[in-house]
């Protein structure tokens, strides 16, 4: 995927007396106007997000005050510790990890096979995989809900991780195909000549080379599983309830406890924001699951 740092060479007209321009105001604006505008736009865009985070640290008494100066407190977070929120946070961790592991285990070999093996009807399979990623959750929750009641998987971590395969598997297959394509087949051919089987060569040669890709894919799977709301809302009750659903409980309960809600929101988004920094290069590719040329 092309790096976003390459140059777009629209020639500038500021070449001449640069030093002089740098001293005058107009020159400064021309040189740094773009950056300044970008920073202003960034501040405006991130304001809602930052407001939530600062609200998490605000004491409840100051809630309706307008001033931005307040003594930060951890009361909102402390209030979260009682009740079922810690448990739901752990549930989210467990489900996301399990879903990632399952998706990788099933999807990585499949992606490799799809990359190296040209078979008829490939396009149909590929379209099917794309559609599964695009389908609205409600189309799956109805049959899954009924089936899980019958199978006893309702409100279990495994049940939820299984449902998440409906989108994570497609992500893994599409992303890993790109990474496997980047591994030259010559190395594998050499291994075949040496007597390796297909999957031996894969394990010894291809996978280590594609390891960064696997890591990035794993992180993306984790993020998508972590962020899910609809499936968790319907398919969990008290045992396997995940963090996003638990926060909504606060809103829908009678207490308009904004610091607690904000604290919950901050905690829930924290792992995702951290992980995103790690995989930002692959983000768009992951979100389109390869449905788009890039």
């Amino acid at each position: 995927m092309a790096s976003t740092d390459a140059t777009l060479p629209i020639p500038t007209r500021d070449d001449a007396p640069a030093a002089h321009r740098a001293r005058t105001g107009r020159g400064w604006l021309r040189r740094h106007g773009r950056a300044a505008a970008a920073l202003v736009l960034l501040a405006v865009t991130l304001f809602p997000f930052l407001w939530l985070v600062q609200l998490a640290f605000k004491p409840a008494a100051d809630l309706f005050e307008d001033s931005l100066w307040f003594i930060p407190t951890l009361d909102g977070f402390r209030a979260l510790l009682q009740g079922s929120f810690p448990r739901s946070f752990l549930n989210s961790l467990a489900v996301s990890t399990l879903s990632t592991a399952m998706s990788l285990a099933i999807g990585v070999p499949a992606a490799y096979a799809l990359t190296r093996w040209q078979f008829p009807r490939r396009r149909h399979v590929a379209l099917w995989i794309l559609v599964t990623r695009m389908a609205p959750p409600i189309a799956f929750t109805i049959p899954f809900f009924l089936a899980y009641r019958w199978l006893g998987l309702q409100d279990t971590i495994f049940g939820l991780a299984l449902v998440y395969l409906t989108f994570n598997l497609a992500i893994v297959i599409w992303l890993m195909q790109t990474f496997f394509e980047a591994v030259p087949t010559a190395l594998e051919e050499a291994a075949y000549i040496d007597g390796c089987g297909v999957w031996q060569a894969f394990w010894r040669i291809t996978l280590p080379l594609a390891a960064p890709g696997v890591a990035a894919t794993a992180v993306l799977c984790f993020i998508f599983a972590w962020n899910d709301f609809f499936y968790a809302l319907i398919l969990t009750r008290t045992q396997a309830v995940t963090a996003p659903v638990a926060i909504v409980n606060f809103l829908q309960y009678e207490g308009w406890e904004w610091p607690k809600i904000a604290a919950g929101g901050t905690l829930v988004m924290f792992p995702v924001v951290v992980f995103t920094v790690l995989v930002r290069k692959y983000l768009v590719h992951g979100l389109t699951a390869g449905g788009v040329k890039d």
Binding site: M1, S3, T4, L8, I10, R34, A35, A38, L39, L41, T45, L46, F49, W51, L52, F64, P109, A110, A113, L114, W117, Q118, F119, V125, L127, W128, V131, T132, M134, A135, P136, I138, A139, F140, P143, F144, L165, L169, G195, G197, W199, N227, F229, F230, I234, P244, V248, L251, W258, I261, A262, G265, V268, V272, T276, R280, L283, V284, L287, V292
Partner: protein, 316 residues
Amino acid sequence: MGAANTLAAPATPGLRAAHASRGWQAARRRAFALGLAPALIVLLAITLVPAAALVVASLTPLSLTDPAGTFHFRDPLGNYRHLLEDTRFLGSIATQLKLSAASVALQLAVGLGVALLLNRPSRVLGAVRGAFLIPMVLPPIVVALIWKILFTPDVSPLHRALEAAGWPVRSLIANPDTALWAIAFAETWQWFPFTMLMVLAALQMMPADPLEAASLDGANRWQLFRYIVFPHIRPVLVVCGLFRLIDSFKAFPLIFVLTEGGPGTVTEVTNYYGFIQAFNFSYWGYGSAIATVILAGVFGLSWLVGRLGWNDHGKH
């Protein structure tokens, strides 16, 4: 395995080699099939089977107050007939189209604008590009919470600032004229970085020569954009728009938290209406019919995306 065959010296090298090679290829094919099979089986089990069950359920008036009695196929298209007469369902489709159109248009416009702004090599801009990702990766429920706070007059800094400036604004999400726009706005805030990233990537890959030539000929910035840059990125915008359109049909957390489909039914999109029918009164048959309709729509649009923007790995 197959390699062992090639090491054994054949009496008639050509024929033996050919045989060996075919055997080796067959073994390879088997190995690949083995690797692909689990994924296909799992996908089959968790997507095609439930989808089939969904369509089957949509042909019955299934309701759990009397499961045995309502699971029959006496009137298979009954639910679909009712859908056509159901003004609330038809209204939900209109609402969905309105919301999708507004939200996608805004996302494209804002994303394009920001991409053009940030398209320069610079440390500052590079860091800023990364920071713009944040709205897109936040859990959708957190986005909904953020905007719930910003749209609740009591606690919202925006409302209080406006009131202090002398322009008091009533609650946007409780007003039927502005509720849908409020949701479109929140959704734009969340997803414009997606368009921004895709347009940036396309801009990077644009060849420099036409631009240099045109600029030497005296074209100004606007002309450069209109005649050279825009045609180049238009396909990306189209695919991006289609992609966001498909995703917009899944809109749920924002509506669930901000308006619950209200006031009245002005923000009740089809996805939400299906949720109400299926999960409020256990009208599984009717809810399945609604979900099938959405699925058919998404399928059609996905096919379109596939045709227009297909990233066919086979072509590499």
